[in-house]
């Protein structure tokens, strides 16, 4: 073959590459839903599979295939020898294909309950999830489980691919029934969009080409949808600037750069910043890259900042915008997905790695586990492999952190087993989670345990010492005290009776918050866990 390209054509081709965006998505479904077949089909139709690979596929299909004499596309993606023999996907596999419009990275994740951890890993980097359903079976408990994990990892765009439509006679009513049922099941999961597409992965119907057998379907074909869907909802434009410092670049005494990947927001030369947790202020002098200094840089870019002042910053610190209220904390309340055989329970110690910082962490409380089928909290003493729960961890040094919903990099962490060095769990910080959702066990609880629990509950409510939340709390307490003292003074001046004045002050102290709470409820604004309501002193 001889294809020649002129200089100009190369420039055009490269310009095309220069405009190509990237979509990371992942697929989940059970063993028989045809997930690997779907990916194999996408790879094959987008010409990401080569002839020699097809030759091997042809050989493998005859040896292990489940499609008779036809090519078994699933064998393209099941890479490990054990997987091919058992006909299942065990580990997360990453696949790549591209179209002129977009490049795709696909995380192919196992569907079985015993591989929940692998699925969560695949979901963690995804912009979008493709959840597969077998049209013959409809919504299964595992569909709910997959959807729950997708929502936990804050993948906000979902494609519901209803597969094997050929086996239900391409019947529209089957499709409609499943779609309606799914929308009800997913109502609580907070997805931004749910796109439902009827497909037949084996034959390619509505995967890359519009199906002639389903004229009743007017929506997009799967590949078209993946090519055009807007993926930048996660990166909020107005998110505050945050750079976890990964490495300090000090080639000589004159240069001191702080290298890292920007977690959110944007930064420009001259912007005022704070280095947390020290709280030191400075300004950005330069944004250094090997391709020359930048004026402005944004989320996901790997940069090196130099500062106008000599500020002591090291790996694990976070450089943030000067007006950012993020603070370092010693306690983490988070959802945890457990990944190893050895279960987790209160009292165990691990190493936590959060962005670029690490610390020793003790599990102070396991509040509850979450039933991944009903999404309901349930009482639990331990979390076993592939289980999900809500925990509070105490760390031995303050870490700069954010809620996962707000920032993936500063809200997602791993726990490492100190003895085996295995990654034992992955966590998503949720400082506003309801830690009382499942009643904790009261039988056999010692006084000490009870006190510890109360302490955590209190801290949950009023914040850690030195935290912004605690300051706000103390501020409103002192304000209420001052107000009551004033009432006493005014009352005493008017009546000259200390008793009456005191009674008035106490009434003000007690009745005003009560009245305010009722008033707020009347306006339906009362959300007890919202720190903004603490700001204004509501509830106390």
């Amino acid at each position: 073959m001889s294809v020649t390209l002129t200089r100009n054509e190369l420039a055009d081709a490269l310009a095309e590459v220069g405009n190509q965006s990237l979509l990371r998505f992942f697929t989940c479904g059970s063993v028989d839903d045809g997930k690997s077949t779907l990916i194999g089909r996408l790879l094959y139709d987008s010409k990401a599979v080569f002839e020699d690979q097809l030759g091997a596929l042809d050989k493998d299909s005859k040896k292990f295939g489940t499609q008779g004499d036809n090519l078994d596309f699933a064998l393209l993606v099941d890479g490990l020898a054990a997987e091919r023999e058992q006909g299942i996907t065990i580990d997360v596999a990453y696949r790549y294909f591209s179209t002129p419009r977009r490049s795709f990275i696909v995380a192919d994740t196992p569907g079985h309950e015993q591989y929940t951890r692998n699925m969560a890993t695949g979901a963690s980097t995804a912009d979008l999830a493709v959840i597969l359903i077998d049209a013959r079976k409809g919504i299964l408990p595992q569909t709910r489980r997959h959807s729950f994990i997708v929502s936990m990892l804050r993948v906000r765009r979902v494609v519901l691919a209803i597969n094997k439509m050929d086996l239900v006679g391409f019947d529209e009513s089957v499709f409609r029934r499943i779609v309606d049922e799914y929308r009800i099941a997913a109502a609580r999961l907070g997805f931004a969009t749910i796109e439902c597409i009827p497909i037949s992965a084996r034959d390619g119907d509505n995967v890359t080409t519009r199906s002639a057998s389903m004229p009743w379907y007017n929506g997009p074909v799967l590949l078209d949808y993946l090519e055009t869907v807007d993926v930048n909802i996660a990166a909020a434009t107005d998110a505050p600037f945050r750079l976890p410092v990964q490495w300090v670049n000090r080639p000589n005494l004159d240069f001191r750069g702080f290298a890292g990947t920007i977690a959110s927001g944007r930064i420009s030369q001259g912007d005022e910043i704070i280095a947390q947790p020290s709280g030191r202020r400075s300004r950005v002098a330069r944004i250094v890259t090997a391709d020359g200094d930048l004026e402005t840089a944004g989320a996901e870019q790997a940069v090196t900042l130099t500062l106008a002042d000599e500020v002591d910053v090291s790996r694990g610190d976070v450089i943030v915008a000067a007006n950012d209220r993020i603070a370092a904390r010693r306690h983490i309340t988070a959802s945890l997905i457990w990944m190893v055989e050895q279960p987790v329970e209160a009292g165990r110690e691990y190493i936590v790695k959060l962005a670029t910082a690490s610390a020793n962490a003790t599990v102070s409380t396991l509040h509850h586990a979450v039933d991944i089928h009903t999404f309901e909290p349930k009482r639990a003493e331990v979390l076993r492999m592939n289980e999900i729960g809500l925990v509070t961890l105490a760390v031995d040094k303050p870490l700069v952190m954010a809620d996962y919903a707000e920032n993936r990099d500063l809200g997602g962490f791993i726990l490492i087993d100190k003895f085996t060095n295995m990654t034992a769990g992955i966590g998503m910080i949720d400082s506003r989670a309801d830690i009382f959702a499942a009643a904790p066990p009261v039988v056999n609880e010692t006084l000490r345990q009870k006190l510890a629990r109360l302490q955590i509950a209190l801290r949950h409510r009023i914040g850690d010492p030195n935290s912004l939340r605690r300051r706000t709390f103390v501020k409103s307490v002192s304000w209420r005290a001052l107000a009551a003292a004033l009432i006493f003074v005014v009352g005493f001046t008017l009546t000259s009776q200390a008793g009456t004045a005191f009674a008035l002050a106490v009434c003000d102290l007690v009745l005003r918050p009560v009245a305010r709470t009722f008033h707020e409820r009347l306006w339906k604004k009362a959300t007890t866990s919202d720190p903004d309501s603490l700001d204004s002193g509501a509830g106390i």
């Binding site: 073959m1 990453y94 790549y96 993936r408």
Partner: protein, 300 residues
């Protein structure tokens, strides 16, 4: 909102990986195979640590059967860019007379590449080695982590891999254990070529088509790079327009017939190609799962 293209995102991700290793490992090294993936890897490493010099040396495990042009390129680039280059040859293998023709590809690769690499890592006590492997190359690579933990014996255990959520890598290891780290895991062959063109990265001339002396053997076009390759009865050395999509030991690397003599032509050819780059690699075809097995034994 700064909108990054997919190559910019891949670049940032690779730089992140480089920095993570240098920040957390004691004694890293970069495996330099002199091919196109290594060229991209080196370019990214320079970017990751700019304006500092590379904070680690480059290591080439020389099987003594590399193309001569590769060795020339290696020595010239090392001088031009001024980095620290280490070269290791498995002398035991040389003494035992291991070579790809008489010993067979499997034994040659095991002794000269896999064992040679292990010797070098042990000799300099490296605890992390960057490599240019990509997940799109081969099925078992698709499931390997960016940070691939190897035992003190350099073995890979595919069933006991650490999850890698978000950008978080667990870099803890026991004494003696090491990491193989693959910063360009998520790049495809097309990405590599596009990036080489965009960033004007220099690569070995063997990638470009030229008249070269080749012998047709077992269905592959093998270039006769020196006199050590004996001509078998019935074989003829022909000068043909060929190029290489991947580079390794010359007796084990098949050339492809091509007229693509420039970067634009290579990219155009690749976009129309229907065969994978590893097709020319003789060592991958010892069986469907053979790469998985070699990796378990310590191959990169």
């Amino acid at each position: 909102m700064i909108q990054l293209t997919h190559l910019q995102k891949l670049e940032a991700e690779s730089i992140h990986v480089f920095r993570e290793v240098v920040a957390t490992c004691e004694n890293p090294v970069m495996l330099w195979s002199i091919g196109k993936d290594s060229a991209v890897l080196l370019h990214l490493a320079v970017k990751a640590f700019y304006p500092a010099k590379l904070p680690f040396p480059l290591l080439h495990v020389d099987t003594t059967w590399k193309f001569r042009e590769m060795i020339e390129f290696r020595d010239r680039r090392a001088k031009e860019l001024g980095f620290d280059l280490l070269v290791h040859v498995n002398e035991d293998g040389v003494k035992a007379g291991v070579n790809p023709f008489d010993s067979g590809s499997r034994l040659h690769t095991d002794v000269m590449k896999t064992q040679g690499l292990k010797q070098a890592l042990d000799k300099w006590k490296f605890d992390a080695a960057f490599g240019g492997a990509r997940r799109d190359e081969e099925k078992s690579r698709a499931k390997e982590r960016v940070f691939s933990l190897r035992s003190a014996e350099h073995r890979w255990d595919p069933k006991n891999q650490r999850p890698e959520p978000w950008r978080l890598y667990n870099t803890r290891k026991r004494p003696g254990e090491s990491f193989r780290v693959f910063p360009i895991s998520n790049w495809t062959e097309a990405d590599v070529w596009d990036y080489i063109a965009l960033e004007k990265i220099e690569v070995v001339p063997l990638y470009f088509a030229k008249e070269r002396p080749v012998v047709e053997r077992d269905g592959a076009l093998i270039m006769r790079d020196d006199e050590r390759m004996k001509i078998r009865p019935g074989e003829v050395v022909q000068n043909r327009m060929v190029r290489f999509r991947t580079l390794g030991c010359y007796p084990l690397t098949g050339a492809v017939e091509s007229s693509a003599a420039t970067l634009p032509e290579i990219i155009a050819e690749m976009r129309g190609s229907r065969s994978s780059e590893r097709q020319g690699r003789v060592i991958d075809h010892d069986g469907s799962a053979s790469m998985e097995q070699k990796k378990q034994e310590g191959y990169f």
